[in-house]
Symmetry: C2
Subunit: 307 residues, 2 copies
Amino acid sequence: MIFSVTILGSNSAIPANGRHPTAQVVNIRNQLFLIDCGEGTQMQMTQFRIKRTKINQIFISHFHGDHLFGLPGLLTSYSLMGRKEPLEIFAPRGLQNMMDVILETSGSHLSYELTINELDADVHKKIFENEVVTVYSIPLQHRIPTCGYLFKEKRPLSNIRPEKIVELNIPFSEINAIKDGADFTTASGKVIPNELITFPPKRERSYAYCSDTSYFEKVIPQIKNANLLYHEATFMDDKAAIAKERGHATSKEAALIAQKAEVGQLLLGHFSSRYINLEPLLEEAKTVFPNSDIATEGTVFDVPFGK
Amino acid sequence: MIFSVTILGSNSAIPANGRHPTAQVVNIRNQLFLIDCGEGTQMQMTQFRIKRTKINQIFISHFHGDHLFGLPGLLTSYSLMGRKEPLEIFAPRGLQNMMDVILETSGSHLSYELTINELDADVHKKIFENEVVTVYSIPLQHRIPTCGYLFKEKRPLSNIRPEKIVELNIPFSEINAIKDGADFTTASGKVIPNELITFPPKRERSYAYCSDTSYFEKVIPQIKNANLLYHEATFMDDKAAIAKERGHATSKEAALIAQKAEVGQLLLGHFSSRYINLEPLLEEAKTVFPNSDIATEGTVFDVPFGK
């Protein structure tokens, strides 16, 4: 059951040190969801072999260019490639007007239906749901309205114990219902409880995306026990004052949030261009939250199962 | 005397085959001018070591995304890097409104003065002049208002014959005036004509940029005898009907324009993603205009002197 995150870009502000501005792709059972879309995202998709046609929802955290300026190119490229499937975007208020002006000025006519869902960036609520995932907005604290996103996997189907299929002579037509939780009634009318014929289902996992934000404890209950947390770490702790002033967090602060929210694993991202080597940021985070990692471009991070 | 063109991108429509959308940098005596700004232009500048701070003028041909969508990122990155020098953009009408909306929505405050000069795309006229260059607009025939640009080098300073400095005892204070064309008056009052103490000045060169456009003979008098012509060649001649329908030209048509305008050299660009190998486009052009070349990304093309 795939639940992974591919990093397309994790630099802040300007592209530098070979790093691209923010974009990442969440894969839940082969449905892809794009989070943020900095300049060059469509090229990074090609570079890392992302099947962009599998993306039907895009989530934008805020409108600073390093999270947004790849969107017009991606949307018009979809059109040039003949996309027919509808596309949905979730973003703070203001995107519809901007995209209208850009598409009109550039003489672009989309070949598909585009729906822009404008969110109250300061409200934590369910914003999207389908058969594999529920997505919640996470209000963040930045210089302009910004929201993170929490992806909660829907309960995966259970696997049937193969010996039970033989033993109970379970017909093929019943398999899907049992995987989905149904009990089985034998030919003689005996009801076999679901838990006796399936392996225990794996627990639902969740992925929390928090960028851009200063150190903001209000997110803690909203991302509590997330299996994987991406949290911005623009600076190291010696630049904590600058971080706060600019609405950003330090590596140590990201780790404190991870620790207090008791998440499974922390991914650090949104690095200032001043850092060529990112190891010191990782070391700083690990002093507080050992299970931390760097969101290196091109890396696919599996969302881990909880204990 | 540098007069060169560095190709940052020469693909059409969508980035593909490792090729980027349109952007190029004209270097005239170390003053840089950017023409078009497709998505990823700022990254390509880093890749090819373009000193972006030396750019004070940007020329946009039209608003299709593959010529424009890198502009918001470049403008805001300049600001994040602390640019103070004013920046001028020349473009068809409509850019000011779009940039206003983008900058406002993205909460961007530029650290420098930005002037957008909106042009009548259907008028051929002088639009910019400084000490090294005069730039003219070239109306093109495309699906939306589009203009090319002609860069005419100002007469370079002459070099003084070194033996004359000694022979006539020319003081250092007179050197610049003589290089600029002044005669020299000796201590005894004798006037020495400029042409006797300098090498003949090299001729002024010109570079014409014509993209995007269908085959459009009206440009011929405007680009007559240009030393270097960049002309779009989106398709090969077997796709001439598609080219015409979409407001594009074929490789053969680009060569016909080069031939009829009697330019020195032709650069082909704006290639359809359908062409992985570009050699056939070059061969097609050469059957009509032998001194043709492919505008390969990263290549610096010196504008040749005329015969």
